[in-house]
Symmetry: none
Subunit: 202 residues, 4 copies
DNA sequence: GAATAAACGAGACGGTACGTCGCGTCTTAAG
DNA sequence: CTTAAGACGCGACGTACCGTCTCGTTTATTC
């Protein structure tokens, strides 16, 4: 995305924003990430290519905005237990990652990250930051509940919970079922609950 | 890669295999995945493009072969405990994923997977299958040792252990340190050890 | 150019006319015809693009107005001989065509003529018509003087005198010197003086 | 055009040369210079754009090659008189300039000359140089015949004869008829025959 | 040893997306 | 109604890269 606030001259037509994003989503669904073309998107939206490039610096930014931007996750409700909270959280994370659009778009965007710092920031912000924030809440809740003696690093919790989902999305052929999702959440809950010193050998 | 066995005519020059792979690795280090060009690779190797395409079906296959192929992981030694085995395994997985070449190459290859079934198989075989096999050994060992009452699904173990490492590689800016790697392994060990029914709410 | 006479609402700011033309001339000198951009001209003049298009229909019209319009040639003084008159006329024509601005602008405008009838008319009026008129005067003067038995077609005279100057401007690398200009005028004078039937073979 | 002589690798397909030039000529006839598009030319020729750019540096070079290149004028036959030779020469020049393709292409190419030195050379070579050469022959023939005491500068002769034709082509609406062409040639013959000192006032 | 078959270096080829740029029009708010 | 600013539709440009094909040449195996 680009700078949002000019106050002089003709203002951006917000209908175009919507038309472009919609066109991009349609083409993505029809032809996949590679099949989405700036020219085709412009044509589908009834818009000039320049109008797109005025809003998005690149195809990657466009498709990010069309699919992932604003897909905020809701703050997790208190289920009464750490494990319950993690299960809910796992489902939320999973859901967000496995929408058809997201499945199409995430791998190429991850590939783009190496040459696009701005996109990198955007992706990290969308996924990592918000999820860590929510996990911090969950973990703190568990500590207050007495399930945890000390609240572990939310970043660790995020890796433990989100990592398996992420890996499954990217390299496994078939989507995960709820049972497996719950098994992951349970294992993470157990892993977080057990103190580092609890195990016999260290 | 392609079929290896014609027996007529001039045989393949095996020097070329090496020269091409070396050239690809050099260019990858210099310019990143996108910067690697088949033409440049051929030129650098002192070779025609056809000689490359005779060996590799596509740029993706070439770079896979140049960086990831044959990077087999050694079967994990018995450390005496599940947690110790997982720590060793975590380090092995991490090491393999974070070589400079692998970091450059993995994201684009993941993106390529959607339109290249052969590559998909190759990647899954290299990463998922071998790691699952090794984890199966580890888990079975722990069961025999008495650490686990029932051996959990190796696929689950793989997701739990490999997922966090994978996620960190792809979306986090900085590499993981050993402490975090160990923390992950410990948490996974605890998660696997705790029976599903042990927790109060299920 | 466009219709000059609105009488309602805010009157045109005549400072803008000058600023635009000056900006166009500056940019023309700096960057040549192609390098002149409507946007850049507007910016240089401190003016909106609309203010330019309100005055000129196109880039071609603008640059015509900025460089050639009003460049009227003075009626030729009587030098006492056809040859003298033609020499004076040749210099006038040459001078008008070889100002730096004119050299930059004439070839593109000639190219534009094929798709712009209005511009065609303007150019023909500026160059052909006025020069023919003046040549008609010169030729008629020569007839009265007795140098010519019959006044030849002024259009022919114009082609004979203006053509060589034009050709030199467009395709020759270096500008013409006065000697050559005089030689051309002399030859044309001789050519017009000699009756068609004077030559042996016809 | 570009360098003609590689001896390694796959040779240029000369069918493509012809197909591209033919396509360019067709499109030129259908849509005019501006209407000719590199993409359309490629499509029409059943060829990739790169194959065109490999042969021609720019649209201007392509259209030059498609219309004017190789349009050499034949050496003028001896008609027995300077005037006859000039008439023949005038017709040859006129004919070359007024083919439909040439009429379309010459004005834009003249406009391109200012930013394309190579094209400038090509055009000067095609038109100026060859015509001067032929005129030198004609003038020398006339001198030997005794029609001229001294052979005038062929460059001057070229300006006098070619200039009017050129001017008529570029700025006059309608094509010239043969009568006018002959009148020009006659006038030039007379102009060249008359010695500079013959006229009363110098 | 000649014939065959394939590999080889070089680079042309078809195709196609990219991002940029300019033109001339349109849309604001301000005057 | 004019102005400054600048967004808009359109569409061409020239570049780049992919993966394939075509040369002429080289190098083994097979007849």
């Amino acid at each position: 995305m680009q700078n949002p606030a000019p106050r002089l001259g003709r203002p951006r037509d917000s209908h175009i924003d919507q038309a472009v994003l919609a066109a991009a989503r349609e083409l993505l669904a029809e032809s996949g990430y590679v099949g989405v073309t700036m020219a085709a998107t412009a044509a589908r939206a009834g818009v000039g290519k320049a109008a797109i490039y005025r809003r998005f610096d690149s195809k990657a930014e466009l498709l990010f905005a069309a699919t992932l931007h604003g897909m905020d996750i809701e703050p997790p409700a208190d289920s009464g237990s750490l494990r319950g909270d993690l299960r809910a959280m796992a489902r939320v994370i999973h859901e967000r990652l496995t929408s058809p659009a997201a499945r199409q778009v995430i791998p190429p965007l991850l590939a783009e990250m190496s040459h696009d710092a701005e996109l990198t920031g955007r992706l990290q912000n969308t996924f990592v930051a918000s999820e860590r924030r929510d996990l911090a809440v969950i973990v703190e809740r568990a500590r207050k509940r007495g399930e945890l003696r000390r609240a572990p690093d939310p970043a660790l919790a995020h890796l433990l919970l989100g990592g398996p989902i992420f890996l499954a999305l990217l390299v496994l052929p078939d989507p995960m079922d709820t049972a497996r999702l719950d098994a992951i959440a349970s294992a993470v809950a157990a892993g977080l609950t057990t103190e580092p010193g609890d195990s016999p050998a260290d």
